[in-house]
Symmetry: C2
Subunit: 421 residues, 2 copies
C-alpha cells in the first residue's frame, strides 16, 4: 500500500460542486488501495474576502489576529471536503494545522515550518481514515499561537506532510496539465515536461514559472520528496519533479524550459566610486529594507572616471522603499544618481544539461539578436541563464528562445483559464 499526499488549491474547491468532484477524486485514490492525505486551500476567493473584511476594520491588522482570521478559510474547505467524503461512505477526518502538528516559527504571515509531528494524522491513517489537513497554516509551540505560511503555503503544507509521513508521492493538483517548457499562453507550441529535476524546477520557479511555489520546491528538494504536478480536471499524467540520487546517471535534456517574469523592476545606482566595499555598503542598506533582490550586475568601470554602475532587479512593489533607503544614504555611498525602470521583462533559460554543454549562452544571445531584441542585463547560475529585456519584448523573446532550443512541440498546448492557485 502506498501513501499519497494530494494538494488541492482554492480554484479546485471553489464551491460545493467542485468540492464533491475533488472528494470523488480522493476516494478514487483510496479505492486504488492507497492511504491518502490531502492538503487543501481555502475555497476560491475566501482568503481575499477575509483580507477585505480585515481592511474594513483597520488598515493595519495585527499580524497575530490576521493569521487567526485567515485560517478560518481552510477550516471551512477542509470540513466540507471531509463531509463530502464521509457522505460517500469513506471515513475522513479534517485536521487544523495545529492538530496536524505543523510546527512553525512565530513569524505571523510568513511562518517557516520548523517541525512536523503528525501523530494524530498517523493514528487516523492507521484506523483507515482519509486525512484532510488545512493547508497554509501552522502553530508556534512557544506562544501557542496560530500562524500562516504565506503565499503558496498550501503547496508547502503538502510537501511537508509528504516528507514527515514518508509518502511515496506528493500530487499537486492544479488547473493545468503540468509544468510546460514555457507558458502555453505565450508559446502555443510549449510542451508538457514529463520529468524534471527539483533543481531545474527551482530555477524555473525562481525565473517566473507560476505553477509551483519556490518554497515548496525547496522543501521537496531538501527532504527528497517526489512531486507530481497534474490537472484536477483530467486523469492525464502530469509532470514528475524528482530528486536524482547522488551518482545517479540522468539522461537530461540540455534545456528543460523557459520562464518569464514581468513582475520586477530594475534599479541602477549610477556613478559609484569603484573602490572595495561599495557593493557591500549598497546591499547592506538595501538588505535592511528586506527587499527580495534577484539579479545583481556590476559593469566594469570606465578607467577614466574610476566610477561604475551597479544594477539590480527586485519586485516592483518594493522599488520605492529601496529607492528611498538609497536616497537617504546618498552622501555616505557617494553615487551620482539613481535610475528606476519598471518596464523590464526577465527571461530565464533553465537546464541541468547546460552544465556540460558549452555554447548555450551564445545560442541564446544569437537567437535574441536575430529577433532584434536588446539584452539589458545578463546573470548566470550553473543551470540557468537570465536576461533582462524591455517588457514589451519579453513574449517575443520567450518564443524565439523556445524555438531556438528545439523545445517546440508538434501541436498546440491546451490552455486553461486562470492560474490554479
Amino acid at each position: 500500500m502506498s501513501l499519497i499526499v494530494q494538494k488541492f488549491g482554492g480554484s479546485s474547491v471553489a464551491d460545493a460542486e467542485s468540492i464533491k468532484r475533488v472528494a470523488k477524486r480522493i476516494v478514487d485514490a483510496r479505492k486504488s488501495g492507497n492511504d491518502v492525505v490531502v492538503a487543501v486551500s481555502a475555497m476560491g476567493d475566501t482568503t481575499d474576502e477575509l483580507l477585505d473584511l480585515a481592511r474594513e476594520v483597520t488598515l493595519l491588522p495585527a499580524p497575530r489576529e490576521l493569521d487567526m482570521l485567515l485560517t478560518a478559510g481552510e477550516r471551512i474547505s477542509m470540513a466540507l471536503l471531509a463531509m463530502a467524503i464521509k457522505s460517500m461512505g469513506y471515513d475522513a477526518r479534517s485536521f487544523t494545522g495545529s492538530q496536524a502538528g505543523m510546527i512553525t516559527d512565530a513569524q505571523h504571515g510568513a511562518a517557516r515550518i520548523v517541525d512536523v509531528t503528525p501523530v494524530r494524522l498517523q493514528s487516523a491513517l492507521d484506523e483507515g481514515a482519509i486525512v484532510i489537513v488545512a493547508g497554509f497554516q501552522g502553530f508556534n509551540r512557544v506562544t501557542g499561537d496560530i500562524t500562516t505560511l504565506g503565499r503558496g503555503g498550501s503547496d508547502t503544507t503538502a510537501v511537508a506532510l509528504a516528507a514527515a509521513l514518508n509518502a511515496d508521492v506528493c500530487e499537486i493538483y492544479t488547473d493545468v496539465d503540468g509544468i510546460f517548457t514555457a507558458d502555453p499562453r505565450v508559446v502555443p507550441k510549449a510542451r508538457k515536461i514529463d520529468r524534471i529535476t527539483s533543481e531545474e524546477m527551482l530555477e524555473l520557479a525562481a525565473g517566473g514559472a507560476k505553477v509551483l511555489y519556490i518554497r515548496a520546491v525547496e522543501y521537496a528538494r531538501r527532504h527528497g520528496v517526489t512531486l507530481h504536478v497534474r490537472s484536477s480536471f483530467n486523469n492525464n499524467e502530469g509532470t514528475i519533479v524528482y530528486n536524482p540520487k547522488n551518482g545517479e546517471h540522468v539522461e537530461e535534456p540540455i534545456i528543460a524550459g523557459v520562464a518569464a517574469d514581468m513582475s520586477e523592476a530594475k534599479i541602477t545606482v549610477v556613478g559609484v566610486p569603484d573602490i572595495p566595499g561599495k557593493a557591500a555598503q549598497i546591499f547592506t542598506i538595501v538588505g535592511k529594507t528586506n527587499a527580495n533582490i534577484d539579479m545583481i550586475v556590476q559593469n566594469v568601470s570606465a578607467a577614466a572616471t574610476g566610477l561604475t554602475d551597479i544594477s539590480f532587479t527586485l519586485p516592483k512593489s518594493e522599488a520605492e522603499t529601496v529607492l528611498n533607503a538609497l536616497a537617504a544614504d546618498r552622501d555616505e555611498i557617494g553615487y551620482a544618481s539613481l535610475q528606476h525602470d519598471d518596464q523590464i521583462g526577465k527571461l530565464a533559460l533553465v537546464g541541468a544539461g547546460m552544465r556540460s554543454n558549452a555554447g548555450v549562452s551564445a545560442k541564446l544571445f544569437t537567437a535574441l539578436f536575430e529577433a532584434g531584441i536588446n539584452i539589458e542585463m545578463i546573470s548566470t547560475s550553473e543551470i540557468r541563464i537570465s536576461v533582462v529585456t524591455r517588457a514589451d519584448s519579453i513574449n517575443d523573446a520567450v518564443r524565439v528562445v523556445h524555438s531556438a532550443f528545439g523545445l517546440d512541440g508538434d501541436s498546440e498546448a491546451v490552455v486553461y483559464a486562470g492560474t490554479g492557485r
Copy 2:
C-alpha cells in the same frame, strides 16, 4: 479592579462598522479600570450560511466535521474584533475555544462544558490584554476534537468564563434593554425588570422568553454567576439576574413576568387503559425519540370506561417523529387514537413570590375566563403556572394576565427589531 465578562451576539458584530462600535464599548470598559474578557458569536448570518454550504455538500453532514466548519464563524469575528481593539491602541488577543481551555464532552453539535482551564486567558489578563474568546465552541480532551455547544452557546461560553475566572459580573449584550415583564411587542406596557432571581429567569426562559438561553441561566445559577442583560445600543442599566444567598431575605414581587411560547404542538393519546405503568410505557417510547417533552397532563379516567387521555406538548418540529413512534407501538400500548394539534399557545406566569401567596392560580384563571379565553391544559411548578390556549388567543392572554397582576408600566416600552441572538 473588577473583572467583567462581556458577551456580544451575532447581530452586534454583523459587519465591520458594528465590530468597531463593539470594540469601542469594550475599550470603554477597560478605560474604566476593569479587566475585560469578551465572548463573541459569529458575525450576523455566518452560521446559517455555513450550514447552507454544508447542506449543498451533503444532506447529512458528519457531526465532527460540521462542528469544525461552524467554528470558523467565531474565528472570523473574534480576530476582527481583536484587530479593531488593537487598532485603538489597546492590547487584545483572540483565543479559540480550545486555546481558552473550554473543555467539553464529545457530543458534537450539543456538547456540554465539563471543565474550563483558562490558563492562557489569565496570563493574557495578567499582561494587561483584553481577552477575546470564541463563543459557542470547545474541545474534547480525549478525542482532541473541536466541539460546539449548540443553540445559545455563546451565552453559555460567557457564563462559563465568568465562573472560571471568578468575574464580578457577566454582561450579556443584546438588542433589547433587558428582561421585560412580557414581550414588549405583545404587551406595549411591559416593564423592564431591574432585578430577577436566576430561578425565576430560568422559568421565564423555559416558558418562552427569548432573551437568554436556558442552559446559560442554569450554568449561572449553579456557579453563582451574576448576569447583567443589557442593550449594546445604549448605556442604560439592564436587568440583573442574581442568585440570592441561602437565607438571604429577598423582597420579591409576587410575579416576575409573563412568557409566551408559540413553538410547541400538543399530542394527545386518547383512550389509554387506566392501569399502572401505561404512562411509563408511553414516555419510554417517546423518550427513545429524544423529543423535548414540556408539559404532561393526564386527565382522570371516566369511571365507566376505565380509559384515560394523556396529553403532552413538545416542539412542533419533533411532533411527527413522536407520532410515528407511538403509532408503531399502538397495539402494545392499547390506545384508541392519537390527536395532533399544532395550533396551541403556551403562557407561563413566573414569580418566586407565588410560593407563599395563595390565590395566584385563581387570579390567573379568572383573568383568562373574563377575557373569554379557554384553558386547554394546566401545569404548575413551585414558582410557575403554565396554561395552554388556542394559538390565536395567546397574545390576548398575555396582555390580560400582565394587566391582572399589576405588571403594566406607566409608559410604553421601546421595542427594537430583531431578537438579538
